[in-house]
Amino acid sequence: MTKLHVGHIQDIDKKGSRTFLLGETEIALFHLSDGSIHAVENSCPHKKGRLSEGMVCGTAIHCPLHDWKIDLRSGKVQDPDEGCVHTYNTEVDPASGAIYITF
């Protein structure tokens, strides 16, 4: 398993997001109100909207292009739309606030 240091929790505003490139893949990191960090592939299954630009509501992200709603924990698109985005496991070091993704 690979564990990659991608940033610090204070780099991301609450209910906000930041992105980074993993090879060819752009990944969006979201900082939820409960303090948790979630990582998903930054591309809506509908028309490839960049999810990082969307609005964070609870544990869901609303795609900025056509308002598809995607659960950030499971990557599942919410009804009435269908689909799934790839999610990544994240870890936050409680002491330093360093964010890691594992894959």
Partner: protein
Amino acid sequence: MTTTKKLVLIGNGMAGVWTIEHLLKLAPHAYEITIFGAEPHPNYNRILLSTVLAGGASINDIIINDHDWYRDNHITLYTGDPVIRIDADQRQVISASGLHVDYDEVIIATGSRAFIPPIPGSDKDGVIGFRDIKDCETMIATAQTHRKAAVIGGGLLGLEAARGLLNLGMDVTVIHINEHLMDRQLDLPAGLMLQEQLEAQGMKFLLGKRTVELTGKRRVTGLRFTDGESLDADLVVMAVGIRPNIDVAQSSGLTINRGIVVDDHLHTNIPHISAVGECAEHRGIGYGLVAPLYEQGAVLAKRLAGLDTAGYEGSVTSTKLKVAGVDVFSAGQFADTPQTKSLRMQDDIDSIYKKLVIQDGKLIGAVLFGDTSEGSSLFSLIKSGESIVGREKELLTGYAGGATAVSPLQRLESMADDEIVCGCNGVSKAAIGDAVLQQGCHTMGSLKACTKASASCGGCAPLVEGLLQLYAGDSAQVTVKEGMCGCTSLQRDEIVEQIKTMGLKTVKEVMNVLEWREPEGCSKCRPALNYYLGMLFPAEYEDEKESRFTNERYHANIQKDGTYSVVPRIYGGVTSPADLKKIANVAEKYNVPLVKFTGGQRLDLLGIRKEDLPKIWEELDMPSGHAYGKTLRTVKTCVGNTFCRFGTQDAMAMGIKMEKAYERLTGPAKIKLAVSGCPRNCAEATIKDLGLVAIDGGWELHVGGNGGVKVRAAELLCTVKTEEEVMEWSSAYLQYYREHARFNERTAAWIERVGLDHVKEALADQQTRLELVSRIEETLSYTSDPWKEIIAKDELRKNFEPLHQAPLTGSTTSIY
């Protein structure tokens, strides 16, 4: 500069904690808060103790704020440790356990305790008050092993205690010193009716009796009265009244009458010490009901938050007895005096009694028994002090003027939608209807959970029950209406009204208080609430960027490939060679793939990468054109009389003036303006939200037009002569739209919905127009250019950059 001050609250009850809750909303970080409570529990709803006794709730159910709440709000809580003294010189409070805590401000909210009259024997076991969780627990435990209970006091509190003890299976006798029950609230006929109904429930009464002794050795065994008679009892509940808890105040040198004397701003006589709630005495009155405490708490919170407040001017109170099966209402002054006239109605068959007390043509008091459905409307008449001359009898009988009799259900039906049914929680009739019809609340329990109606004092329960019947009964015929979004069944007007009446100040608070189904809302309601709050409180409200759509967070239009487009502000569409060069240079430097004129005569740079946005804005060094927001977009103009041979007025100057005036103005939806210099209307001003068409010697204002999704020609609002009049009407119209349209509703749809006549009527009065103008000007005075702000602040700018993670093969990568 902000420094955190130290605030100490003495008393962990409803009044004090309500004040803190309000303060946290108004000024979340202004104080470091410490709370001392004498009881071992977090804050709970004392009013619901009778529900606990009645078996309807457990003690946990009535906790208002649990320990997590204190922790989440960084409040230090000391329970079971009463404060014994305030040292005003050292600015310290000193607790029973010896803690010394510094303060900048201190609030005394120690409430009151049951008054235990000095009757010989009142210190025996089994003699209690009815005041706190401990009393409740004693009653519940006693009911397991003993049978006979006596309650001394036939007032509100005593009857509630008695009802609770009946529910616990005890044999209950109420002893009252006067000839009829609830003599502080009811007159004789109503008191007798109440007694009759309670006797039917199994309660026993000894009226006109004064207790002289409580008998027994260690534990109480009975009562003896002045007339020599006696009564056996294993439990005696003293409910003859309450006394303010003033021990701390006494030992600290505060001025005390019956309670701690406070002024209209809840100041005591010593600076930085305030008092609120039942321990306080305001204008000679100490209140023992919840509504006044909330009103006082709101004033104190505002003052501590540094906001202006008119102060507290006292409360007119009303009482509703929440004893099961009996509907009693009393408000204001119910006793007759030489100055008053009263109307009474007594129906012994259906046990209904009504009394209205009138002085100088105004309603000053009312007593209702058996049917209390009109209580809240009578109460609002008492509070408003309006004249009721000519409709006194109508108010008494509930009959419409001269018409036939109406049933209680019909009366509920005719009640205004915005009338507040539950005064404690500010729940309107409309909110209850909505909960029944939209959220399927068909029981009192679910209705209570959903709206909070009758969840505090419970006095409005009969009314709420009536409404439940009204709405549930008719629900089959009522078309289902949709709420603002899936997170709530409330609609725009209801939400805005609730925000106003309850003074809600953040999106989160609105969602919490109005019981949103999704804790953080969705992409529909969040931007709407953010707009409504900003519109209502332009000075105080801090805009929530995370509740705005992408375009408004990044101040550029997101395009289908994830790039953005940038439109600098060009006032009135009039530019200069220098600005054009600047735009061209930036476009070349950043390889902007497409430059285009927009529909509103502005230049659009398309295909820009997000990370380049701040640099481009910086180099353009022009104001944001707000081409992306629910804001004023552009003011399109024709050439006007500057060059055009037909022009009658200076359209360009007028357009520039308007664009500068309303630049950055937010709205429920985007707002487009245009100015045409003559009736040929080359700027197409009649398909704009607001369009000016110059005529000879004046201007026509056309409103509600749209050239977009649904083409709609504007309608003529008015014709005026001067530029000043143009600005006055334009500002008033735009502000009226801002205040009344639904979020996302363009002016065209809004005017179709409400009608042009409504808008004309609303703006007809100049005084009203000037008030609207001043509100729009206030709003505009708080705006700033978002591009400049982001350029200047690293913490905003960082969001435009991707994270730079360590390389895959770097030292921070570990394989395992």
